[in-house]
């Protein structure tokens, strides 16, 4: 008769001895210990001020330690929404963001694509030169630009052969702030785009060129779509940080003027708190900005996730 062979012998289930609870805690602790310094800093410098701001936004206070904070409920928010300032400042912030996008996305992409041809030591020198404006302190560059834009004998007016008071006319002041900020961030954005381009495997371009695509087709159909996560990142940075990037220039060059034409939301809340000493109103504006930018950031992050292609 035919008989099945027996397989390897089966042992009865065995339970290994568990280490003591103390040992288990000690063994599990290191990851949390590594996290602790970062978490502590985050709590001290971000979350604590945030909760304090939230609390302050429901009070009236003039920043004097001797004056008590008076609870006012939603009065600060109501005032904020009734005043036309916030709406106008938001609109101007939008103009700044749109004005900076060419400097943070469009020009860097063109420069990044063209400068791919630069190789070796030339590349490092080139990138250092493009990046240099980022290293100039905004206040220092503001002084230089004020001198360049001087209506009397400034270099800009002489080169253009016009007689414009750049920083003291409503349209040109905003334009000047945007261009100077753009000049500051351009190098950084080019560097980010170059890094993004370097991260795209050369095989795609090679394959596409053998598939018969022209250089323009490769750029449009392969390179730019693969670069889109980087572009979304730069857009996100511009949307969230434009108002902050322009702040030092506004403060040194125009102080929000002329006629509030360069007052964006960040400058406005700073103005409320530290010029008008209405800390509650400033805090309320801060909270609204936090919520608004939070929603926009979440949307863009979601978009970035959707656009990222995990190859290999």
């Amino acid at each position: 008769m035919l008989m099945e062979i027996t397989g390897p012998p089966k042992a009865p289930p065995v339970t290994a001895e568990r280490p003591s609870p103390l040992r288990r805690v000690l063994r599990g602790a290191p990851p949390y210990l590594y996290l602790a310094p970062g978490l502590a800093l985050l709590v001290i410098w971000t979350y604590r001020p945030l909760t304090q701001t939230a609390e302050l936004s429901f009070h009236s206070w003039n920043l004097l330690p001797t004056t008590p904070m008076v609870p006012v409920g939603f009065a600060n928010y109501e005032r904020l929404l009734d005043l036309p300032d916030l709406g106008q400042a938001t609109l101007r912030t939008l103009v700044v963001i749109l004005g900076l996008l060419p400097f943070s996305v469009l020009i860097p992409v063109v420069v990044g694509l063209l400068s791919r041809q630069v190789r070796g030591r030339g590349k490092a020198v080139y990138q250092a030169m493009v990046f240099a404006p980022m290293l100039v302190a905004p206040v220092a560059s503001a002084a230089v630009w004020r001198w360049l834009l001087d209506p009397g004998g400034g270099a800009v007016n002489r080169v253009l052969g016009i007689d414009l008071n750049w920083l003291y006319e409503t349209g040109s002041a905003q334009f000047s702030i945007i261009v100077i900020t753009g000049w500051h961030i351009l190098g950084f954005a080019v560097l980010v785009v170059s890094a993004g381009l370097a991260g795209i495997s050369g095989d795609y371009g090679d394959a596409a060129s053998l598939d018969g695509a022209s250089r323009w087709q490769i750029t449009r159909w392969i390179t730019l779509p693969l670069l889109s996560p980087t572009l979304v990142f730069l857009t996100l940075m511009t949307v969230l940080l434009s108002a902050q990037w322009t702040f030092p220039l506004i403060d040194t060059l125009t102080q929000g003027g002329p006629a509030d034409s360069t007052t964006n939301v960040y400058y406005l809340l700073w103005d409320y708190s530290f010029h008008s000493y209405d800390a509650g109103l400033g805090a309320a504006a801060g909270m609204l900005l936090f919520a608004g930018f939070g929603i926009i950031a979440a949307g863009l992050v979601w978009l970035a996730e959707r656009l990222s292609f995990h190859d290999n």
Partner: protein, 378 residues
């Protein structure tokens, strides 16, 4: 006609010569495998054919057209990359259709061609997927589909099977051979895997250090290796190579070394000063245990069971040889053993140049014995 002719092609990167004066004729319909170890220049040569790496010197013609300076897109070649280089943001259908889209063919034609190719490669169900949702084998087929969708002059393939597991690789090898037979077009295929080369190639070009070592059919390259390098590269395990000296004894040549005295199938005379240092080569499967005139004596160091066959590692003098035979070999570690090989299975190589040595019979009056062992390739 897609005959590819490579003339004296060289590629230098700064001081490193990746491809050194390679001349190679690839006939229409051939399956030519560029074989060699890592860094031998085979991929560089393929990329030069594709136009992705410009040559430092030399000329490449496709058909009658000099394409040395033609950009890749105008070369009428299709390539499958080792990484497959599937466009990660495009669906399978758009990936396969890409070469037609780049050529601005009408949409309906692209769709029809893509569906046709997908059917032959069994990809129809996957057309809407993105590359990241595919398995390794499926990606490989999509890469192949992108090459097949137009009718290129030749197919270039850069180690397309190296990312597949062993079982899938065996299956895909057979599929590629079948595809080549059906299409009848020219394939240039780069690999470091000798099994792929032996099974698929109609001709193998073996490269070493950027230089062409031998070009020939798999049989020629395996049975008559042109150099000790080729002999040592092909075969698993590779040919046993032993330092020996050729001397003549009673009108016959013998290769001798410590514990080695192999009679060669050559009648001739060599005076003592004409005897020559050579490398003696015998394939593991050509060694027999015992025999009437055993040429090698040694001690078994290790016996490996491969399932169908056994490998015995034997120390002969200060060299190690490998013997391969069907199971059981009836050998155990420590056994003293004598080995023999038929004279027609014995290869000789020049000690310095490594080139194959052949006996050229001359009239006995002309006493030029040492030179008679010249190393012109057969």
């Amino acid at each position: 006609m897609s005959r590819i002719h490579i003339e004296a092609a060289s590629k230098r990167f700064d001081k490193v010569t990746a491809v050194d004066q390679v001349t190679l004729d690839i006939e229409h319909g051939e399956f030519l495998v560029l074989l060699g170890p890592s860094g031998c220049g085979k991929s560089t040569l393929l990329r030069a054919i594709a136009g992705l790496t410009p040559l430092t010197e030399g000329r490449i013609t496709l058909g009658d057209k000099d394409i040395t300076h033609t950009p890749p897109r105008d070369r009428d070649l299709a390539m499958v990359f080792q990484s497959y280089a599937l466009y990660p943001h495009l669906s399978v259908a758009r990936n396969i259709g890409f070469p037609l889209r780049a050529r601005r063919r009408p949409k309906a034609e692209i769709r029809e061609k893509v569906e046709q190719v997908a059917r032959t490669l069994d990809l129809s169900a996957l057309l809407d997927r993105r590359p990241r949702e595919l398995s390794g084998g499926q990606r490989q087929r999509v890469a192949l589909g992108r090459a097949l969708v137009r009718d290129p002059g030749a197919f270039l393939m850069d180690e397309p099977l190296s990312n597949l597991d062993a079982k899938l690789r065996t299956a895909t090898r057979a599929e590629l051979s079948e595809l080549h037979r059906r299409l009848g077009s020219t394939f240039v295929y780069v690999t470091h895997d000798q099994v792929e080369a032996m099974t698929m190639a109609t001709r193998i070009a073996l490269l070493n250090g950027g230089k062409l070592e031998q070009v020939g059919s798999p049989t020629e390259v395996y049975d008559r290796p042109a150099s000790a390098f080729v002999a040592g590269f092909l075969g698993s395990p590779a040919m046993n190579l032993l330092d020996a000296r050729v001397v003549s004894r009673e009108g016959r040549l013998h290769a001798v070394a410590e514990d080695v005295d192999v009679a060669l199938d050559i009648t001739g005379e060599l005076s003592d000063q004409d005897s020559q240092d050579v490398v003696l080569g015998i394939r593991p499967e050509h060694l027999r245990i015992g025999g009437a005139h055993p040429g090698l004596r040694g001690v078994v160091r290790l016996v490996e069971n491969l399932g169908s066959e056994e490998l015995a590692h034997v120390v002969v003098g200060d060299a190690r040889v490998c013997l391969r035979g069907s199971r059981p070999l009836d050998l155990a570690t420590g056994d003293a053993v004598t080995l023999s090989a038929a004279p027609q299975h014995i290869h000789l190589f020049h000690r310095e140049s490594g080139k194959r040595l052949v006996w050229r019979d001359e009239s006995p009056t002309a006493n030029r014995a040492a030179v008679e062992l010249d190393y012109s390739a057969p």
